[in-house]
Symmetry: C2
Subunit: 380 residues, 2 copies
């Protein structure tokens, strides 16, 4: 089995992630933050440790400004829907995933305006085009750090600077970058950082989080029991409880911590370097095959290990099917929940075959992949 679908979810995870989830379930899976007995305190402590570790990783000063969510989509919804009100304007980009676009289009119905800034054909967004879209009522710029289609790295430092200078809130979707590219919420002037746990951070599915900068007036979109202010039938304002109603996925969060520990021990720069090498090798070899079209930036430094291709005008699903069926190679075809990104690069009809590398892919696997693609192109 050859897994190149790491942009959807990384697989495998380090063994210690599986072991830690198992241990958490079996040994101390009480309800964290609810009761006061030893096992509940242990569960709570483990969640706290995860909060501290992830906060440090993103340079978040107060770990209580980091909330856990079941996935990145929920984190993005919380930031977008909890912050934008009638009369506000939000700027986003054509390279966004539907987890950003759909909440924003939903808010149109409630009187929140939006501008979608289009990228160039490599999926690159210019800070200047965002600047031009700013209006007097612009409350937020919401953009991805890295395109989930083309792997393009966006100029979030520049945009963060721009947002700060204009007093506009800056939301970054780190779905494809968290755990792959270092992120500093302060240096980059990020007000909201949404991330999944199960992609680059190597945690299990069912995890994610959102950093909310101190002092922002963001409402929670979900209310309920928090284990705090239990005398009150109104949602507490204290962090992180305000945004963490209901029982957390404690074993998942503990597994996420372990995924991050693996990254810290391996070195994020080594993970990035390896993915860069694999992408470079893959792209260079594919360039030799005439009928293959590769999308995204040509400069390897401007992209991560996410590479979409097409073979002539073949349907992307058909190629994926052949890769799966004949070669046991797993990739993702179609539109990747990013319709405007496909519109941007001109693949709305055909879709694209997306290859995404993870920290456990090897050069041998990529060689096998290249041979498979070569064979397919020979047979058509």
């Amino acid at each position: 089995m050859y897994y190149f679908d790491n942009a959807a979810t990384t697989f495998p995870k380090p063994d210690r992630v599986y072991d830690k989830v198992y241990e958490a379930m079996k040994e101390y899976a009480a309800n964290p933050g609810r009761s006061g007995h030893k096992m509940a305190l242990k569960a709570n402590r483990e969640v706290y440790d995860a909060r501290v570790l992830i906060s440090k990783f993103f340079h978040i000063e107060d770990c209580f400004n980091l909330i856990f969510t079941p996935n990145c989509t929920t984190a993005l919804n919380m930031a977008i829907q909890g912050t934008l009100k009638e009369g506000d304007h939000v700027i986003t980009t054509s390279m966004e995933h539907n987890s950003v676009l759909r909440p924003i289009k939903h808010l149109e119905l409630l009187g929140v305006e939006n501008t979608i800034v289009y990228a160039d054909e490599n999926g690159s967004i210019s800070t200047d085009s965002i600047k031009k879209a700013i209006r007097t009522n612009t409350k937020m710029i919401a953009m991805t750090h890295v395109s989930n289609l083309t792997g393009t790295i966006m100029p979030i430092e520049e945009v963060g600077e721009l947002a700060k200078s204009k007093g506009i809130l800056f939301l970054v979707d780190a779905s494809q970058s968290a755990g792959v590219i270092p992120i500093d919420v302060n240096k980059t002037n990020i007000d909201f950082l949404a991330f999944p746990g199960h992609k680059g951070l190597l945690g299990p599915q069912g995890t994610g989080g959102l950093f909310i900068r101190d002092g922002l007036r963001t409402d929670t979109i979900i209310q309920g029991g928090t284990g705090s202010e239990s005398y009150s039938i109104y949602q507490p304002e204290i962090m992180p409880d305000k945004f963490e109603s209901g029982t957390l996925n404690m074993p998942g969060i503990v597994g996420l911590k372990e995924g991050l520990n693996y990254i810290l021990e391996t070195g994020i720069e080594n993970i990035r370097k390896k993915e860069e090498e694999l992408s470079k090798f893959f792209i260079e070899e594919l360039r030799k095959i005439e009928v293959v079209k590769i999308y995204g930036p040509t400069d390897i430094k401007q992209r991560v290990g996410v590479v979409p291709i097409n073979i002539m005008d073949m349907d992307s699903s058909e190629i994926s099917y052949i890769l799966d069926d004949r070669y046991d190679i797993y990739v993702r075809p179609g539109l990747h929940c990013s319709p405007l990104a496909h519109e941007t690069i001109g693949t709305m009809e055909q879709g694209a075959v997306r290859f995404s590398f993870g920290p456990f892919n090897t050069e041998e696997e990529v060689e096998y992949l290249i041979r498979a693609i070569f064979e397919i192109t020979k047979q058509i």
Copy 2:
């Protein structure tokens, strides 16, 4: 270690639950419903099987009317916030958890009226009192099946009948009943059934679900990628995708299925019978201790294995602390996220010490517990 905090989360789970989660993570944790390769299809198939099994368990005809959520709180928010609009009226009860009360109180700000019907001192709600609260604009009755404080079983069949006859939507919070008392959404005229995965259903934390009756006009409160209609920047209407944006907690859902399989093989009636016997034994023995006050219905048939007590006017946290520290007995003191329920039974100041039994508690453990309580009462 003696664990009597099963109303917060059941512990332990059957070993097969842990094993299944581990297996899912290690062997087929691709992104379900996204890619089309073998491993993604396997992940998707496992989620589908869980959907079918849980649907059958609750007599839900079309399994696509069952959506997975990260916990019961999110399910309740989806039903309440997704359905009630300005000008609507909702009836709820004083025995609700804050996961019902807080969303309803939040909706007050948006012009949704509410009436909170109070229970008697045993935590019992009369259908008649709900009937009297009905107004011309009453859209929903939202109530718990079983109180998480007193263990009182509510007359949901009667209320379901009433709701149906008046054309009012009926939302049942099955947090304390799912997996303990059989539930038939059709016989009971339930329009929304919200349940956690990690309590009576013996699944891992990070799981839950919501049944939404076919044809109801409920909006989703979270939008995003669904793996369907990916060409569109608007949320799809198809079920269950409409309500399942973002990556699901696939390993958790697979574990939940395994918890339910354990229940089906053991027989829900046997689980219920055992918890009834333990509660009966516990309550009868405690009644012999003069300084102990037991709350909830006296008739054991009217309650589940959730028993709150107080010892004279001692603070509930102090008793819990002694039980934990000296006896290694784990329970939950305080207000249990149910302030109005405590107000109802008169324990708002003192809180209560809640003992809740699970399928793996034994008579020997309960004997040990009773001896511990007896000793504590002798020492004060």
